[in-house]
């Protein structure tokens, strides 16, 4: 059975169509990513699935229950970690978790044990009696991650789980998510605008832009559909015009001294490319990443700061 089925779901805020007839389904036990820039409609979709927003039209089934007609049943089936912290700062980590367990009808004599179990999972046992306001951003996120797990939901929603965290903390959180998914056999749906996150965590990724799903597949397949690897050339006097004429070069982008190319079949064509380029300082070849996938589908990079300056 599919954990989540979404059919022609739309959400309109006034004049803005935030979600535009999207459809997808998520298998049990899958880690599914909604990838897209800010304002693409990812969080709106998640909030509709969590019954906190009502859809304008369309249908969504979560764990077999319709979100508009059976919201209480839906909420019993899910756990959610919000993008913005939603714990009480004046309470300790332990108290926040206990509160959550009570809200989710966990048996009274099991609350202490379950709270301690999830605290262990996210390495917060030592800090459990500190007020949350004394936690760092990463600790608070871990605590909220733990909170989403106490009632052992079948489906876990993660809204930008590592937004604003430093790379080390991010890697740690990824590890926790993967451990949890395996240990507890949960279905996980997450939103992100970090390519690396979608690439390293998700079984399947839906790329969403302007409220529409523009591609949906495994990260590998999405990248495989792109013909070509990314080649980075560095040098002062590279002849860009000449390179442009090579038939196997798909796309050229200059970033200062660097030139970023998409090259078909780079293993065979690299020699000719280097010959054409002339004197270069260094070369890097990457297999395509989701970043290129996104670029390919939308014609722009996912990070807004890079939106300007693409000169291809």
């Amino acid at each position: 059975m599919d954990s989540i089925i979404v059919k022609e779901l739309s959400k309109r805020f006034g004049k803005i169509l935030a979600v535009d007839k999207i459809s997808f389904s998520i298998k049990k036990g899958e880690i599914f990513g909604l990838l897209g820039p800010n304002g693409a409609g990812k969080s709106t979709t998640l909030l509709i699935l969590a019954t906190l927003l009502k859809p304008t039209s369309g249908e969504a089934l979560v764990n077999g229950f319709e979100v508009t007609t059976d919201p209480d049943k839906v909420r019993e089936s899910i756990g959610i970690v919000f993008q913005d912290p939603s714990s009480d700062e004046l309470l300790t980590g332990y108290e926040n978790l206990k509160l959550h367990a009570l809200l989710y009808n966990v048996e009274l004599n099991k609350i202490d044990e379950k709270v301690n179990n999830v605290l262990r999972l996210v390495d917060l046992v030592k800090r459990k009696n500190d007020q949350v306001k004394k936690y760092s951003g990463g600790m608070r996120r871990r605590m909220e991650l733990a909170r989403g797990l106490i009632h052992e939901p079948q489906i876990l929603f993660l809204d930008e789980p590592t937004l604003g965290l430093d790379p080390q903390t991010r890697a740690k959180i990824w590890k926790y998510i993967q451990t949890m998914a395996k240990k507890l056999k949960m279905t996980i749906i997450l939103t992100t605008h970090y390519m690396e996150e979608a690439e390293s965590l998700c079984d399947r990724v839906a790329i969403i832009d302007h409220g529409k799903i523009i591609a949906l597949d495994t990260p590998n397949n999405l990248m495989g559909k792109l013909k070509g690897d990314t080649v980075l050339l560095r040098g002062k006097n590279i002849d860009v015009a000449k390179i442009r004429r090579l038939p196997f070069v798909q796309r050229i982008e200059t970033q200062g001294k660097d030139i970023k190319l998409t090259v078909e079949n780079s293993a065979e064509n690299l020699a000719l490319l280097l010959e054409t380029a002339g004197k270069i300082e260094c070369v890097e070849v990457h297999p395509p990443s989701l970043n290129e996938v996104f670029l390919n589908y939308t014609g722009r990079e996912i990070r807004e700061e890079n939106e300007k300056g693409n000169n291809w």
Binding site: A50, I80, F82, S86, S87, D88, K98, L102, Y104
Partner: protein, 254 residues
């Protein structure tokens, strides 16, 4: 209702009450102001106005029931600000996404708010003992009943206002609009029978009037209406506002 449902609702209500009380006791400024505000009013306002107002008997005794009502009015209504605050810091999302129904969430919030307000009133009652306010076991129980009845309606009103507001500042403005006329026209500070008739009309539609009158009848034995009549009006007010409150929570958006 199935047994499982009752357990679920009870745990949910307990969870929200647990948080409300923990936070209240942990925020020292709230606790300190709960103790000192009524003291200021009793001694500074009571002495000052007492020197110019003529009432039957001791003015400090006359306003004591008024201050009890005042404590409940202010702390109950402004409790709604914490709902707005919860929206702002996103804690409300955590509660609304739990399997509890919106109606249960309303009751949980209301019980928390009533506890806070009652705790402050009890502190004032303890101060009253030292001021030789003539309390006896029966009047303590009747006073508490009256205070709870006033708190139920006003906490609900605060939560209703809070459910519509997005900023704490906005809440403050709207709530002040309700709270000051209600307090000043309740008879808490001065007898109402000398007011001009158009103001008297307002005092009669003010639920706080009935609470103040009821409290005075219990504590001092002087009143203009019977205890039962006061009780009846307050219960009607509570039923109305609790219904409105559950409605407001069921339609509340984030």
């Amino acid at each position: 209702m199935r047994k499982g449902t009752i357990g679920k609702v009870a745990k949910g209500l307990y969870a929200m009450w647990y948080r409300e009380v923990k936070v209240f006791l942990r925020e020292r400024s709230r606790l300190i102001s709960a103790i000192f505000m009524p003291l200021f009013w009793m001694f500074i306002f009571g002495q000052g106005v007492g020197s110019i107002v003529k009432v039957q008997g001791n003015y400090q005794f006359f306003i004591f029931p008024g201050f009890l009502a005042m404590t409940i009015i202010f702390s109950s209504l402004f409790n709604g600000a914490y709902l707005v605050w919860d929206k702002k810091v996103d804690f409300l999302k955590e509660v609304l996404v739990s399997p509890l129904s919106r109606t249960t969430v309303f009751f949980g919030k209301a019980i928390g708010g009533i506890s806070d307000a009652l705790l402050q009133a009890i502190i004032l009652m303890i101060i009253g003992f030292f001021l030789r306010i003539p309390f006896n076991p029966a009047s303590v129980v009747l006073t508490l009943i009256m205070l709870v009845l006033l708190a139920i309606g006003l906490v609900s009103l605060g939560l209703i206002i809070g459910s519509f507001m997005e900023s704490p500042e906005g809440f403050g403005l709207v709530a002040s609009f309700a709270v000051y006329p209600m307090f000043l026209l309740s008879g808490a500070l001065y007898p109402l029978n000398n007011l001009p008739s158009w103001l008297q009309v307002l005092t009669h539609i003010n639920p706080a009037t009935y609470a103040v009158d009821g409290l005075r009848s219990i504590i001092l034995g002087t009143s203009s209406m019977s205890y039962a009549a006061n009780l009846g009006v307050l219960i009607g007010f509570d039923v109305l506002l609790v219904l409105a409150g559950t409605w407001a929570f069921n339609r509340m958006k984030l």
